[in-house]
Symmetry: C2
Subunit: 235 residues, 2 copies
DNA sequence: ACCTTTATGTGATGCAGCTTACATTTTTTG
DNA sequence: CAAAAAATGTAAGCTGCATCACATAAAGGT
């Protein structure tokens, strides 16, 4: 249940998960053991709500989530949350550092506990990209996919009503994280309805109403931990 | 009257405009004469409405506008226009080709007459980027700025009302293309009110109303060719 | 277990901006 | 220059969602 444009997961001979992007094993290249040489202090454990970086921190590193979930957000003047992305294991963030960003312009927050990340200093990153041409290409390709994802959200906001946006968002979640179970697709999640609201650009009350509406119609079954989708095609 | 995050213009000793990005003269590197060696067939002239590339064309080149204006758009299922960018002289488009895009996912349309562009084949581009490290960095930096611009539009759509969005858009235009003239800033433009509507995510009628409202209040003076802003700070 | 905090559920009300429907003006074209 | 097409102006009515105002339920802390 994983679409294109995404990190893919497979199991190696040792029974470990391998996270790949476009056939390049980012996780293996970027993470733990291989990187001991580069990583002096880090490989850190975060608690829920911990800040991984702040706006105006200098963009010296990029990161990969090795455990948990990380939320990238900024805030409008009136304090409204702008959720740019929510990332899980094997996914990369802070990648704008590779595009000449000098200071972060958003927050990276741990939103599960414990959350672990692999940081990678920019110079080391460039070194790795030089050493491994395919890795470098994959990183840039990943940035390309991020742009397209943002463009899709933008388009939805521009021309689609709230219900449509929620349905499309659920479909995307199903595609990226869903587990098929008989006729259903199960999405394990950790989002509050407020989070959904921020992600699709509406208010919490509206999300509540829509989830219950979809439940009435027998299309989904929402709980705090999982969403079971009975009629993916009806969404 | 040109902000950061943008192409800057200056005049060289010969009286020619020089278009720079982050102190790297893209125009000189990418354009006409220097590139004779690379450019076999192109350096083309387009009429208003001509398509420079279609969705699904393979992303083999990136382009720089050398004359006129180019609009990057896609269309939603119901035929609504999604304007991703409008680019003028010295600006680059099709840059997602550098991020591993295989096929274009939008249209590039000439929207002035005549419009001229400098195409650059991807392999040649990579060659140039290898030869000139600063040039390569500038290109990626430019992509970074594009992302931030998109994020700003996204945020505005998410949390700001139509009038605020229009005012911010006008300020951005003033910053990027405005000419100061006494106490006024003059923006020469070529957009219809429908174009404005598509850019800020509203309907044409609403744009008409708002322009007239701003005119009533003595803040702007809208005509089809130019917008004079009397009170930039009041916007 | 109790208390506090955070998340969810649900109605009543309001309004920004979309829709619809034309009128008028400007530009383009034959 | 006339006719057609495109852009702009204006107004009345409607509606999708935000807002407000609570009630209930679940999670977390001590």
């Amino acid at each position: 249940m994983r679409g294109l444009n995404s990190i893919t997961k497979s199991i190696d001979k040792m029974g470990n998960s391998i996270w790949c992007f476009e056939n390049v094993n980012l996780f293996q290249i970027l993470c733990p053991h291989k990187l001991k040489q580069y990583q002096k202090d880090h490989f850190e454990g975060f608690k829920k709500g911990d800040v991984i970086y702040f706006p105006d921190d200098s963009s010296r590193s990029i990161f990969m989530v090795s455990k948990g979930k990380v939320k990238i957000v900024s805030y409008s003047e009136d304090g409204e949350e702008i959720v740019k992305a929510i990332l899980g294991k094997g996914e990369i963030f802070g990648e704008k550092a590779l595009l000449g960003e000098e200071k972060r312009d958003d927050y990276a927050l741990a939103c599960t506990e414990p959350t672990e990340i692999c940081p990678m200093q920019l110079p080391d990153m460039y070194e790795l990209m030089r050493q491994n041409e395919n890795f470098g290409l994959s990183i840039y390709k990943l940035i390309g996919f991020r742009i397209k994802k943002m463009e899709r959200r933008f388009e939805a906001l521009l021309h689609k009503d709230v219900k449509t946006r929620l349905c499309e968002f659920l479909k995307e979640m199903a595609d990226e994280n869903g587990i098929e179970s008989g006729s259903e697709v199960i999405i394990n999640h950790f989002l509050t309805q407020k989070d959904f609201a921020d992600l699709i650009g509406t208010k919490r009350e509206t999300v509540t109403r829509l989830f219950n509406e979809l439940k009435q119609d027998g299309i989904i079954n929402y709980t705090r931990k999982e969403i079971r989708i009975r009629g993916l095609e009806k969404l």
